[in-house]
């Protein structure tokens, strides 16, 4: 099998000792000693409560932790959890760990590939990926993500969360509306760290071997979701609860753009036959597909606007290689606006994103530079979103997101027109 080449002999030996299983729980880690213990216990508890009869293996793919993360995973005791949850396991619950190559920036992708390969070799019926950074993971999440696969035959189960209205703005202002407009499927979390999937779909995706594609730049999870849509697999959404990270990672915008927007843009080429003719559909959802928290949140809006204006001014020569002259002129005009009048409207934002997608496709300049150049403009969009929704209720925020989605859909012919002109 092809996966044998990137799995270590030791890991293959461990997998052979496990034999066949029904469920695989994937847990990618890298220096998560602070959180991985409770998360392993929660996962085990979820398995014991929801799937006491199924053979299960927790596969930890670790990126070379130096804080004892892997020891904590291996030392997770099934007996203790059984006693705590007052449920005894009827089958062995294995917990194995392996190191994967963490030489690239795409550590998540490498971990995901390892887990997919392990699930394939163990002939699991269903798999679930869990994040070691979720601060509020519940045992029920395991059931919520696996049941639709095992009981109803869905191929991919994505989560929906209750979030603060100003969290996850890359999702609400670009990823969700753009994938919805282009691919025609309403999936709120196209890039998530927790999701369930069938082994059939997982194996098919593994066969596609996107990791060895020269255009691959990361974001395997997003490509996984898009592969489910374009492959006409059955997708389901399930509401998990609050989305809370252990650490807020506000400063990591550029890596986030690479992983998500880079993956989305690079998928547009091979997926063109699918998205150019896609009809609109909505994935079935268990529970609410969106819930919004409205607590006060301290955000340095002044800094966002300053970084937008500086970016537009300093990167004008770069934008001239990426955007149309009208869009550059419009962005310049907005950058010069005072704080009170400043607004990056939805139409211009969508037009800008689509022009970036085209430049990415054409490789107008280095593709990574194109993604980095989007960061200042995104900050301007974030500033506008914060201003427009400062006093908005949950429904009003959702209404604004819906309006943005419709704008992405309305402008889709513009993208198609540009796309056809470069072919």
């Amino acid at each position: 099998m092809s996966e044998e080449s990137f799995l270590t002999d030791d890991f293959l030996r461990q997998l052979m000792n496990v034999g066949e299983v029904d469920i695989v729980v994937g847990l990618p880690t890298h220096n998560n000693a602070k959180t991985v213990g409770p998360i392993i216990q929660t996962i085990q508890s979820g398995i014991l409560r929801g799937f006491p009869r199924e053979r299960t293996a927790i596969i930890n793919a670790d990126g070379g932790s130096r804080d004892g993360t892997t020891d904590l995973v291996r030392g997770g005791s099934i007996g203790d959890v059984g006693a705590k949850s007052k449920v005894n396991a009827l089958r062995t619950l294995h917990s194995i760990s392996t190191d994967y190559s963490n030489s690239s920036d795409d550590s998540n992708g490498a971990a995901f590939r390892t887990i997919l390969a392990a699930a394939d070799l163990l002939r699991a019926k269903a798999c679930v990926m869990m994040s070691p950074e979720s601060a509020n993971i519940e045992p029920e999440w395991v059931s919520k993500l696996l049941r639709p696969v095992l009981d109803d035959g869905y191929d991919l189960v994505t989560p929906t969360y209750r979030r603060h209205k100003f969290e996850g703005l890359l999702v609400t202002n670009l990823l969700y509306p753009m994938t919805r407009a282009l691919y025609g499927v309403k999936i709120r979390e196209v890039f998530s760290s927790e999701f369930g999937f069938s082994s059939g779909f997982g194996s098919k995706f593994l066969e596609q071997n996107v990791w060895d594609d020269r255009t691959y730049t990361g974001g395997a999870e997003l490509r996984f979701t898009l592969a489910a849509i374009t492959g006409k697999y059955r997708v389901y959404q399930t509401f998990l609860g609050d989305k809370m990270h252990v650490e807020r990672r506000g400063a990591e915008l550029v890596p986030a753009l690479r992983q998500t927007v880079g993956a989305l843009f690079s998928s547009l080429g091979p997926d063109f036959p699918a998205w150019s003719v896609a009809d609109f559909a909505s994935a079935p959802t268990n529970g609410s597909d969106h819930q919004v928290l409205l607590d006060p949140l301290r955000v340095n809006r002044k800094r966002l606007r300053a970084m937008f204006s500086t970016g537009i001014l300093e990167l004008e020569s770069v934008f001239q290689s990426i955007l149309s002259p009208e869009t550059v002129a419009e962005l310049r005009r907005i950058a010069d606006m005072g704080e009170n009048n400043f607004r990056l409207p939805a139409e211009l934002w969508v037009k800008t994103v689509y022009e970036f997608a085209i430049s990415y496709q054409k490789s107008a300049i280095n593709r990574d530079h194109i993604i980095q150049a989007l960061a200042p403009i995104f900050r301007g969009r974030v500033y506008t979103f914060l201003t427009e929704n400062r006093d908005s209720s949950a429904d009003e925020v959702e209404k604004n997101i819906e309006a943005l989605c419709l704008e992405f859909e309305r402008m889709k012919p513009y993208l198609l027109q540009m796309w056809k002109s470069i072919e």
Binding site: A256, L257, T260, R298, N300, L315, F378
Partner: protein, 234 residues
């Protein structure tokens, strides 16, 4: 006396005719080589132009910044310039080869030197082009990184990166061409050293407050501010 003059003239004329008759085949060979070289140069030009268009050399040149330089000098696109250059170099090579075959004393050494110099000229052009490409790439990378990290004066940083790489490339080009090697090495050392010293003085003394503010913001308050005031994008 008259007969002697006529005889001498006749001998000279015959010598000249013999000399010309002896030279004529070489001249014809030279002309044939020049014409054949012209045809070969045209074929090379057409093939090269097609290959350059196929590999989108103009776009590469645009990324390197050479297209902009050519446009400012009212020259045609990079593909055309390179094709024409190769045409002229090829044809000139054939013409020089033809002249070499004429066997004119003194010219042969000079022509041999030109032939020895040509590969170095090509290597120098290669270094210059890729040097400009690298300068453009790294200057843009520095600019984007500085803008996204909110570093003050990102344009200055980017220009400094570009200038350093261009100076470095130029010194390599001159070294390859063998032109004023010593002068270039010394000039490069002085220019690079002066630039670094200037930056150190500007940052350490001239911009003392700015440096302190920047370092404090970056390593003392910066992290806290980032974590508290920025939102998780995902």
């Amino acid at each position: 006396m008259r007969a002697l003059i006529i005889g001498e003239l006749s001998t000279a004329f015959h010598e000249m005719v013999r000399g010309f008759a002896h030279f004529l085949p070489s001249l014809i060979v030279m002309l044939i080589i020049a014409v054949a070289g012209w045809l070969i140069a045209i074929i090379v030009k057409v093939i090269l132009r097609s290959i350059l268009r196929l590999i989108k050399f103009d776009k590469l040149s645009q990324n390197a910044g050479t297209s902009q330089l050519l446009a400012k000098a009212a020259l045609p696109p990079a593909t055309e310039v390179l094709s024409r250059f190769v045409f002229w170099v090829t044809w000139l090579g054939f013409v020089l080869l033809g002249i070499y075959l004429l066997g004119i004393f003194g010219l042969q050494d000079q022509i041999a030197r030109v032939f020895v110099f040509l590969p170095r000229l090509f290597v120098a052009m290669f270094i210059m082009f890729f040097g400009l490409l690298a300068a453009s790439f790294f200057a843009r990378a520095a600019l984007l990184a500085a803008v996204n990290a909110n570093v003050p004066s990102p344009g200055v940083l980017s220009t400094a990166v570009r200038v350093i790489i261009i100076i470095f490339t130029t010194s390599m080009v001159f070294e390859e061409l063998g032109l004023a090697e010593q002068t270039m090495v010394v000039a490069f050392g002085i220019a690079f050293g002066a630039l670094m010293l200037g930056l150190a003085i500007a940052f350490g003394i001239g911009g003392r407050d700015l440096a302190r503010h920047f370092l404090e913001k970056r390593f003392v308050h910066g992290k806290r501010e980032d974590n508290n005031d920025e939102l998780s994008p995902l």
